[in-house]
């Protein structure tokens, strides 16, 4: 049912982001929302980006699609190599051809990301009619197939429904269907389950996992929820104040978290079976992005912060193969 696009080599790199910097101009000055992010993912892999609100994870996703909200936001520097092609240097026309066709994005709130005036079938079909020049009827048939793929019951009837006739979970399935409609090789899912209740969350996550296996589509999963990431991703990057502070395979990261921020995040999750009166919270709040200073952005909240942490920002170092961390604690052996 689902035909893959010409398959490249199994193990080749699908996306490689190097030193991506996205800034937003504000009255108070330039905000470095994404500050030198590196990201690499193989075809068919799912990569997670975790972090608190405002750490720049959504902006990273939007930057990859070159959808940073203008006129104040812009990509300042960096490379976004997708299938070996640098997206940062493409013109807008080529980007339009690529969006939805090669890279698609699913947003947080399925309540507002569908047009209330259109039947969902038409909305799923829209990008296929646009990118692949399908006829109305072909698009309709494909929409039914896609709805079946994302597990919507009786899709023949559902395609005529308007979004307000669907539940939140169904709407997010519709969003996934329209994201997958042109068989993109990468789907960026920005908090795809945050607006849904817990049981539906689990269903959608299970669906994403299943879609990845069935279609070979790669996913970038952006979330603030470590649990979501743990379930679904092979590789995780933890973001803080626009920078990646730790990046590792999912098992390695959960077994052996190194950065004080990552350990802090883990300790703030309740665990079944462990009796604890209070959860550990990370003291303080996300720093004001306008005055980050010279040092490590996490140092004001860090329990092991030392004097030099506040003076100089640490580099990202590879502690063991595939496990990188940005903290002075692990720079000793250098």
């Amino acid at each position: 049912m689902y035909v893959e696009k010409p398959q490249h080599n199994e193990n080749d790199t699908l996306l490689c982001v190097r030193n991506l910097k996205t800034h937003i101009r504000s009255d108070a000055g330039e905000i470095r929302v994404v500050d030198g992010v590196d990201l690499q993912m193989k075809r068919g892999e799912t990569v997670g980006i975790v972090g608190e609100s405002g750490c720049g994870k959504s902006m990273t996703g939007l930057s990859i699609l070159r959808l940073v909200p203008g006129p104040h936001g812009r990509i300042v520097s960096g490379e976004i190599l997708f299938n070996g092609q640098d997206l940062a240097s493409l013109d807008e026309k080529e980007m339009v051809r690529l969006r939805g066709n090669e890279i698609a994005m699913v947003f947080q709130d399925p309540m507002t990301s569908l047009d209330p005036l259109f039947a969902v079938g038409d909305q799923i079909g829209e990008s296929m009619r646009f990118h692949q020049k399908l006829s109305r009827k072909e698009a309709r048939n494909r929409a039914i197939e896609l709805l079946k793929l994302v597990g919507v019951p009786s899709p023949e009837l559902r395609i005529k429904d308007r979004p307000d006739q669907l539940s939140g979970g169904l709407r997010q399935r519709v969003m996934l269907a329209s994201a997958l409609s042109c068989k993109p090789s990468l789907v960026i899912a920005d908090e795809p389950t945050t607006a849904l209740d817990v049981t539906i969350q689990a269903q959608i996550l299970e669906l994403i996992k299943q879609l990845r296996e069935e279609t070979g589509t790669s996913f970038i999963l952006i979330s603030h929820d470590l649990g979501v990431i743990a379930e679904n991703c092979q590789h995780v990057s933890v973001m803080y104040a626009g920078k990646i502070v730790e990046s590792a395979d999912v098992r390695e990261l959960f077994d052996n978290p190194l950065h004080p921020y990552t350990t802090g995040l883990m300790e703030s999750i309740p665990r079944i079976g462990v009796r604890k009166d209070r959860l550990e919270a990370i003291p303080g709040i996300v720093p004001n992005p306008l005055d980050l200073g010279e040092g490590c952005a996490f140092s004001p909240r860090c329990s092991c912060s030392e004097e030099h942490c506040e003076q100089k920002a640490p580099p990202l170092v590879e502690v063991c193969p595939g496990h990188e961390v940005r903290c002075w604690k692990y720079c000793n052996h250098l």
């Binding site: 699609l65 006129p71 969006r99 947003f107 709130d109 990301s113 569908l114 829209e126 646009f130």
Partner: protein, 275 residues
């Protein structure tokens, strides 16, 4: 559409308004066949006659049948009302969409220009434009149309801005839709509801504006039958022969009230929050 009719029927006032509007429209369309007398030929022997079986609404200061003039005048009055709204709406929509969707410099330029226009009272602005263009029905239509541009552009802009910031547009962009595609396919239908409500209410004020310009002698020129002009002609005889001014006045009031009522109902129907 079916639902709309059903909801319309529930609202008694709206039905009355709709029927009245229908009658006025019908009058405008088949007026020449309906009017019992020629609306322009004067008959000075029958000046200022009260209502009678021959002249149902009496005759005016030049002996012309008021009913005939009212029927044929409806065409001119509606012409001014609807055409000026069409002018204002089309310019206002284009400006509003550009300002709201693209924002930034374009937005500032357009909206400051609109603010400048809004600084003048609506009618004063229309008066100013008609003074520049010269009196006449077409010119007064254009003048009222232009004077109403800021109203429409502001409504369109704010709706477009709200949409532009929504995930809907972001999601469409992420699916590879171009700006124009988004504007035509998704923004336009979504701003249609608030705009059409403002436009229906706008017809009422445009009709009044046109009549007012006609009253001042800047709109339709005598002997053209137009309700504002008729009102102005009857002004001198308000005490001796009040029916001359009363008939077009009541007609005008009914038209304006119907437009407003219909606009209100339309707003209730089109507002998804009230469903």
């Amino acid at each position: 559409m079916h639902n709309m009719l059903k909801e319309l029927r529930r609202d008694k006032l709206a039905v009355i308004a709709l029927v009245l509007l229908g009658v006025i429209f019908l009058m405008a369309i088949v007026g020449p066949y309906l009017a019992p007398f020629d609306p322009i030929t004067q008959n000075l022997h029958e000046r200022r006659l009260g209502p009678s079986l021959v002249h149902w609404l009496g005759t005016d200061e030049f002996g012309r049948d008021i009913l005939s003039r009212l029927i044929l005048g409806s065409r001119n009055t509606l012409f001014i009302g609807f055409l000026s709204v069409a002018i204002g709406l089309s310019i206002g929509c284009v400006l509003g969409v550009i300002a709201g969707y693209y924002g930034g410099f374009a937005d500032s330029c357009i909206m400051r220009a609109m603010d400048l226009m809004l600084a003048y009272p609506y009618f004063l602005l229309a008066l100013l434009i008609v003074a520049t263009l010269g009196p006449g029905m077409t010119n007064s239509t254009i003048a009222i149309g232009i004077a109403s541009v800021p109203t429409y552009s502001r409504v369109v802009r704010s709706s477009v801005m709200a949409l532009k910031g929504s995930l809907l547009v972001k999601a469409e962009e992420a699916l590879g839709a171009t700006d124009w595609r988004i504007i035509i396919l998704h923004v336009a239908p979504n701003v249609f509801a608030p705009v059409i409500v403002v436009a229906t209410l706008g017809v009422a004020s445009a009709v009044l504006g046109g009549a007012a310009l006609g009253f001042l002698g800047l709109g339709a020129q005598p002997p053209t039958p137009e309700w504002g002009v008729m009102l102005s002609g009857g002004r001198s005889y308000l005490i001796d022969a009040p029916h001359i001014a009363l008939a077009p006045g009541i007609a005008l009031a009914l038209l304006v009230v119907s437009c407003n009522l219909f606009g209100d109902t339309l707003r209730d129907i089109l507002d998804p929050k009230l469903k």
